[in-house]
Each structure stands twice: as C-alpha cells, then as structure tokens.
C-alpha cells in the first residue's frame, strides 16, 4: 500500500547554522553558534534532553589539578596519545587537553553542580589511562548533568530571545524527534541545507543554511552487543560520506571491557569504569586478579606488579603504581575476552567485577548509585554483597568524519563541520574514559564557532528542487517495497543479520578471512536492503525509520570492515589474531573511506602530518622508540 502523499513543494525554512544531533557536542555547538549571532537550528531524533550523552557515567577529563596539583594539560595530552597508541591527530589531542578545563568551568557558570573537593572545588576521580585523578563528575551520572546543563543553557538563551523578540525560537530552535536523511548541496558543491522528516507525523521538510554541523554520535547499533542507544546508527558518518566527505580511522571501534552480560535483555548495557577507578577489581572463575597477567610491554613500568602495590595506590598514588584494572580499555577488553575463551569465565560468559569486598556498602551506594540501582533493578544483583558479571560491549567508534583540527571543518565539502563522536582523529586508535565528554565540549564549541563564522561570510543557501525531489523519493522508497512481492525484505530481519555479522566477524578479535566474509555479507545485505518493505503509514512508524537508518548502518559497517581488513596490525581498538603485534610502520598511516560512485566504499592510505617537536619532547626517547616508525625516529 503506497501512502497517499501530496506531491507539492516541501516546506523550507532558512537558518544560518544547522546542528544535526542534540547530545553534548551538538548542544555545545548550538550554544556557541547562537552566542556568535547565528540563527541556529538543532535537529534531533529523540526528545530534547534524551541524547545518548545522558548515558555517560564516569566524568569529564580536564587537567584542573583540583585533586592532584601536579596535573597539567601536557600530562593529559601525553596520556591521551598513549591511550590512542600515538595514532591520534595530535593537534586535536593538544587543543583538547589545553581547552578542557575552561569548558568544564564554564559549565558551572551555567548552573552545573559537580561533586566537590573538601575545599569546595570540583572533585576529580581516577580513571583508566589517566596519570592523575582528572575526571570532574557527579556521582556516576555525569552525562545527565552535562546534557541537562547544556539543555538549560539553551533554554536560557531562548528566554533572552523571547525578551527581545517575543519569540522563544527566533534565534535558536530545537526540532525534536526529527531525522535528517541527506545533507543537500548547491550547484557549486557547497552545503545548502538538510532534508528532514518529522518522526511523529512523517512530514518532510527542508532546512536551508550555508553551514551544517554533524554531531550525531556513533555507530554501535551496527553491532549486536552494544552499550549504545537506538539513535546510534551512524547517521552523521553516512551523511558525510554521501555528501562527499571522507571518514578516517574507521577500523578502530572501542569495546568497553565492562558491559552487563546477564540477563539477555540488558546484555551490553554499560558498567561504568568508575567501578574500577574507585577500587573495583576483576577476577576470573578461579578467583584470580587476572589483569596482572595482561600488562603489555609498553605499559610495564607504569602499572603495579603486585596486588599489594596496586591496593596501596588508591591511598598513596605518588609512591605506588596503579593497578592493571586501570589499563586503557582496549587492553582490559582483550584480557576479559581471553579469560572467557580460556574457560575461566563467569556462569553467563563474562568475568567477575567486584566492589563488595573492597568498600563498605554505604560507600558503594554513595559513589556508585546508578550502578547499584541498575544491577538491583535489572539483574537482581546487590553489588554491595556480590560481584557483578561483566564482559566487553561495543561502546564507541574512534573513527569518524575526517576534520580539520582547528575548525572541525570536513575535508572537501565547504560548509560541512563535524564534532564529537562522529568526528575522527582525536582519540587515535583507542579513547580514554572521560575524554569523550571533554571532546564534545571542546570540539562542539569549535565547530559552532567556525560554522557561525563561515555562515556569516557565506551567501544565502539555496537548494535545488531536483535535490529535494531525489531525497524525498529515497525516503519514500520503503513504502513501495511490496512491489517486490516475495522478495521484499523486513527491515528488522536485515538489521539483526547485520548486527550478527559485525559482532561475529568484525568484532573485538578479527581475522582476515572473517572480515572478507563480512564484506561479502554486507554487500549482499546492501542488495537486499534495496527491496526493504514497510507497512502502515508515515506517522511515528518505527519500521519505516529503521528502514531508512539501515542505509547508514550498512555504509558505516562496510567502512569498518574494509579499513580493518586493510590495516595489517593490531593497535588499540583494532585487534587481529593473524597480526597480533603493533607495527610501527603503520603509525603514520591513516585510512580514509569514501563513498564510491557505484555504491560501496573506497579506501585511501594517507600519511599523517609529523607530530610537532615540542609535543614529542614531552615523551622519553625510549618510549617514542616503541611507537614511531623508523623514518619518524630518524628525523
């Protein structure tokens, strides 16, 4: 049944800057753009204030030096580069480390209430890979505090606009529960707007603007076991590809070491790293703290060699080394995977994470309230009395839209910007916990700033009728799926098959033959997705929404698989059983993904810009020798 749709002009609105996504990066970008005078529209798939950022638990990394006076941006930068195994776009890592404290302090002036130190400053907690306690936090609900603060700041700007214009939405408007399916360009290849539909009504509309900021988050919904919400279908990644902008480092996908493993319906939901930062330990079925067996060579001198030393570190971090439970996430996830594989896992296929023997019950309930609540409500487990069962879950994509470090502008599409998880480069091959929220704020602000500046100097955007008609036809195609008869495909089935493929064949441990098989299956799924068919009408129709999101997930999955097959080494969030070692020759190599004309993805190898000397000087020569390629060491 093809729905009757009026064939007439699609409604258009004119704005200066459009922000796609209303998580931390999108809202921070919108605030900046509006404060710089740009009329700004924000479009998000969920209700305003529900974005995936609310799920962030641990904190915001920033070297404010409140908890340890020795902390500086240089040390934060160094930790970030080590965590990313030196693949990070170093200038982004530098800007991030330098600007993060200001971005956190600014939140307080907007009403945020972080946990405090005894002298009244913002409290900072330990986290994996961070040399000093660095994460500003609110219990284990930091993401909620961040999103609410930004949301309330936006409301306060709207109140200002109301006072001057009588209209709350004259300078900054949130289009909630709307999806963008295409970035539209003008005749000169410049950004001119976005094609959208309202999820409630199914109504199409076009927002025209010379500058668009992508802030859509990640890609986790392409995997079966994930901590990510339904929104994470790689929309911004795909929008950039389809607009002609390349993605970088897509092979690097972070599997968070601790997701819930039971019951099945919550499998993958995150168990915050703060559990380990605050003293939680990992044990296998034999009761052994197995992480001591998995400290890799490059980190040997920086982590405790005995349980006694690790335990002393919580009280006396200056004279002891940190326990190996706080290694970067990729190391911990691989170790858990190996323990389970060796038959030393927990009853439901994870390992044990225990705080119950490490802290008094009231301390656990105060410091980890959401975790206490989550396990009690969803798994009937009292974490103050028994260990949790945890295992790796797809959590974050380090890869993303290739952007200019300073401006967040994409590569080759004038007027298109990207910030937050959808942008690539900042975290290299592996992101440290706490560096995501700070990334959102630092680069969200930069993207908003530069988008507003760009828009101020640009001509009014004009989208051609043809582009609108093409986007409209593409969005309506699933309603014609019935014409394929028995060959018509169910979007839910295709999605499940894709998730299984990515989980099994391009997951935490990868092999050449499996990735090649994944690419074949993805190509086949792409064919079948052309025949996807949905029932009903356009009003709040989840089947139709999924059918449209499938295009994005398939594109992004192909990027991940193709780049992973190409990179013949193991590094950070890319682990190959057939190439188990990190290969220094790959250090200065980035892989760019572009959408090919005939469909599918093309790869290109590019050399990265040499790391600036004063930044290299922050490391010992011996350490650099473990990471840099031969020709980099010579020069």
């Amino acid at each position: 049944m093809t729905p009757v749709t009026p064939v007439g002009p699609v409604e258009r609105q004119q704005w200066d800057v459009i922000v796609v996504g209303a998580g931390g990066a999108g809202l921070r970008a919108a605030i900046e753009a509006r404060q710089r005078g740009a009329r700004t529209a924000v479009i998000c798939k969920s209700l305003f204030g529900k974005a995936h950022t609310v799920m962030a638990e641990g904190g915001i990394a920033a070297s404010m030096a409140n908890a340890n006076p020795h902390d500086t941006w240089q040390i934060h930068f160094r930790d970030t580069m080590r965590g990313g195994k030196f693949l990070n776009q170093w200038r982004m890592a530098e800007l991030h480390a330098r600007e993060a404290p200001d971005r956190v302090w600014e939140l307080e002036t907007w009403g945020a209430l972080f946990d405090r130190t005894p002298d009244g400053r913002i409290s900072q907690r330990n986290f994996g890979g961070h040399e000093y306690p660095r994460l500003a936090h609110v219990g284990d609900r930091t993401g909620l505090e961040l999103i609410r603060t930004l949301q309330q700041k936006i409301v306060s700007l709207q109140q200002e606009d109301f006072r001057t214009t009588g209209d709350y939405e004259s300078g900054l408007k949130v289009f909630q529960e709307c999806t963008v399916t295409r970035v539209l360009k003008d005749a000169f290849g410049r950004v001119a707007g976005v094609f959208c539909y309202d999820r409630e009504s199914g109504r199409f509309f076009v927002l025209q603007a010379p500058a668009v900021v992508l802030a859509t988050g990640g890609i986790g919904k392409s995997f079966k076991v994930t901590s990510n919400s339904w929104e994470y279908t790689g929309d911004g990644h795909a929008l950039a590809l389809l607009a002609g902008a390349p993605l970088v480092n897509m092979e690097f996908v972070q599997f968070h070491p601790t997701g819930m493993v039971w019951p099945p319906s919550v499998k993958g939901i995150l168990v915050t790293e703060s559990v380990r930062g605050d003293g939680g330990v990992l044990r296998n079925s034999e009761g052994r703290r197995f992480m001591f067996d998995y400290v890799p060579e490059v980190f040997k001198e920086k982590y405790a060699q005995s349980e006694e030393e690790g335990d002393r570190w919580y009280e006396d971090p200056d004279d002891n080394r940190r326990p190996p439970e706080l290694l970067p996430r990729d190391e911990v996830a691989r170790a858990i995977n190996a323990e389970v594989k060796a038959g030393r896992g927990s009853p439901h296929g994870g390992v044990f994470l225990d705080v119950s023997t490490r802290m008094p019950a009231d301390v656990i309930r105060r410091r980890l309230p959401s975790m206490y609540h989550q396990f009690k409500e969803l798994a009937d487990v009292d974490i103050t009395a028994e260990p949790m069962e945890v295992g790796p879950t797809c959590h974050y994509v380090m890869g993303g839209v290739h952007v200019d470090s300073e401006t967040a502008a994409t590569d080759g599409v004038p007027g298109l910007f990207a910030a937050g998880e959808v942008a690539g480069g900042m975290h290299g091959s592996n992101r440290l916990g706490g560096n995501s929220l700070s990334d959102l704020l630092v680069f969200g602000r930069r993207a908003g700033l530069h988008a507003a500046e760009y828009a101020a100097g640009a001509a009014a955007a004009e989208v051609g009728e043809e582009a609108v008609a093409a986007a409209r036809a593409e969005a309506l195609a699933p309603f014609d799926g019935e014409s394929f008869g028995d060959a018509a495909e169910n979007p839910y089935t295709l999605h499940q098959e894709l998730q299984q493929t990515m989980n099994d064949l391009v997951g935490i441990i990868r092999r050449e033959s499996e990735m090649a098989e994944a690419l074949e299956r993805i190509a086949e799924l792409r064919e079948r997705a052309r025949r996807v068919s949905v029932e009903g009408h356009r009003q709040f129709n989840p089947g139709w929404h999924l059918a449209l999101d499938l295009r994005n997930m398939l594109l992004v999955s192909e990027c991940v698989a193709r780049a992973a097959l190409e990179r013949t080494e193991s590094r950070g969030g890319h682990t190959r059983e057939d190439r188990p070692a990190m290969d220094r020759a790959w250090r200065p190599v980035n892989l760019l993904c572009r959408a090919a004309d005939g469909g599918g993805i093309e790869l290109e190898r590019v050399r990265t810009e040499p790391i600036r000397d004063d930044l290299l000087a922050l490391f010992e020569k011996e350490e650099l020798a473990k990471y840099l390629a031969d020709e980099e060491l010579e020069s």
Binding site: S46, L47, F48, G49, K50, H52, V54, M55, M64, D102, W105, E108, T109, W110, G111, L113, D115, R116, P118, G120, R121, V138, R141, G143, L144, E145, R148, K153, V155, S156, Q158, Q159, F162, Y168, E200, S229, W230, E231, P263, P264, S265, V266, I269, L270, S370, H373, Q374, E377, L378, A379, Y492, V534, G536, H537, Q539, F540, N541, P542, G543, W544
Partner: protein
C-alpha cells in the same frame, strides 16, 4: 527459568481515538516490558509506536502506564507480573496522544521555558566557584531528575484538570525552582528575582496539596514532595498564608509532640 507466552493488552490509536488490542507474545528470562513491546514490533505490529532511548532507566523516554501505574517500560521487569496476568499498557493520561504509546509532552517543554534560568554570581570568574558538598547535596538530588514526566502525568492537579495546565508548572518544574533556590551561588535575589514568590504567583505552587503522588512514581526515588515542594511552601509562607502548610505544620507538630 524458561520462556512462556504472556497476554498483553496495548492501547492502539491516535488523537482521533483508539482502543485496547490483545496480543500473545513470547517472554524470556530477565526481560522488561520494553523488550516485549520491541518483540511485538519485530514480529506482529511493526508500526506500534513507542518512545524509548537508553533502555537503562537513564533518559526517561519510555514513560507509560502499566496496569494503570505510571512507570518506565524499560525498568519494569516481567517477573513482577504473574505469568497468567494480562499486562495492560496505555499511554500517559495527562498528555494528548499522538499515536499508540506516544504522547505529546510539549506541555513540559513549554513549562521549562517559563522557569527563570540560573543567575551566575557577579564577580566570580569561571574556575572561581567554591561550594561545599553538603551545600550542593540537596540541589544535586533534584538534578538526578531524568525528565520522564511521570510526576507531571500523575499529579492530580493536571491529570484530570486540563484547565489547571496554564497556571501550574507541575512537580518537575516546581522542583526545578527549588533546585535553583537552594543553589548556593544562584544570584537571583541580587538580580531582583524572588524565586519563591514566582513559584507561588506564576507557577502554581499553591495548587499542590502534598499528596506525594509525584514522589511515589519517581523512578529516581527523588523525594520531590518532602525535599522540594514542602520546603518551598514553607519558605513562601514566610510571606504569605498557605492553608496547606498551615495545616501540615499543625499536624506535624501534633504528631511530633
């Protein structure tokens, strides 16, 4: 434990009307009601509309009424129901239906805009804020709010009284005023803004007669009535007579004596 077939009745329809539809659907060990709604979408009712996001009780999207009780679909375990019990899911009653379980919650966003924002203290630069933990504890409790709007939905001031909506902000946003009023560095007063007075005069605090329905349905366990609304009423009463507070104080005094 095992798999069984459960009976569900779900409200299907839109602004023009609708009714309960019966479904029989498989339930597995450890599942929550939202899992069952998703299974229905994937197998029997692909266009069944439901709002959800995090599926971990953190975003407050999947609010609805289960057997008449306002709850989050993602935090209601199937194990709380008997296997032969029919589980009825209806949309939140206080808000207009868009479709099936999805309601128009724009009332709440309109109210949010009417609450004056945090006023930063003059003379303190970013990074210079100093606050004691015990002084931020109370406002932090209110900031745990996930904006599921179950309290707004259940509050009898608006649940069956559409006419009160224009003058009543509802528990969530009265609590927001309390949060700002108790913020140690909020400079509203210095700027000439009396938050307590606006709570009473502009946002309908006086309509609340502390039946604690909001507190009962809060999935975050925030003591909305005791910690936000009653203290606000008590602060207001410094300046103004409120019969409920007067009565409440007398009762408490009698009980305490």
């Amino acid at each position: 434990m095992s798999t069984y077939d459960a009976r569900f009745r779900i409200w299907r329809g839109d602004a023009d009307g609708g009714g309960l539809t019966d479904y029989t659907v498989e339930v597995h060990d450890g599942e929550v009601v939202l899992d069952i709604v998703h299974r229905l979408q994937a197998t029997q009712a692909p266009d069944l509309a439901v709002r959800w996001n995090c599926k971990a009780g953190k975003c407050g999207s999947c609010s609805a009424e289960i057997n008449g009780r306002p709850r989050l679909l993602c935090m209601t375990r199937m194990s709380v129901f008997a296997r032969d019990e029919t589980v009825t899911i209806t949309p939140m009653r206080a808000f207009p239906v868009i479709r099936d379980l999805v309601t128009d919650v724009s009332f709440n966003y309109a109210k949010a805009r009417e609450i004056p924002a945090f006023v930063p203290p003059a003379g303190l630069a970013p990074g210079e804020y100093r606050m004691k933990q015990e002084d931020v504890d109370r406002s932090q409790e209110f900031r745990k709010c996930i904006e599921c709007f179950l309290c707004q939905n259940t509050c009898h001031v608006v649940r069956d009284h559409e006419e009160n909506k224009p003058v009543f902000a509802g528990p969530r946003f009265l609590m927001r005023i309390a949060e700002l009023d108790m913020h140690p560095l909020d400079a509203a007063e210095e700027s000439g803004l009396d938050r307590r007075r606006t709570a009473q005069d502009d946002h309908g605090l006086g309509y609340c007669n502390i039946t604690k329905c909001c507190t009962e349905v809060c999935p975050e366990g925030i003591a909305i009535t005791d910690n936000a609304l009653i203290p606000m009423k008590e602060r207001v009463v410094d300046r103004r007579y409120d019969p409920v507070v007067w009565l409440g104080n007398r009762i408490r005094r009698r009980n305490g004596a």
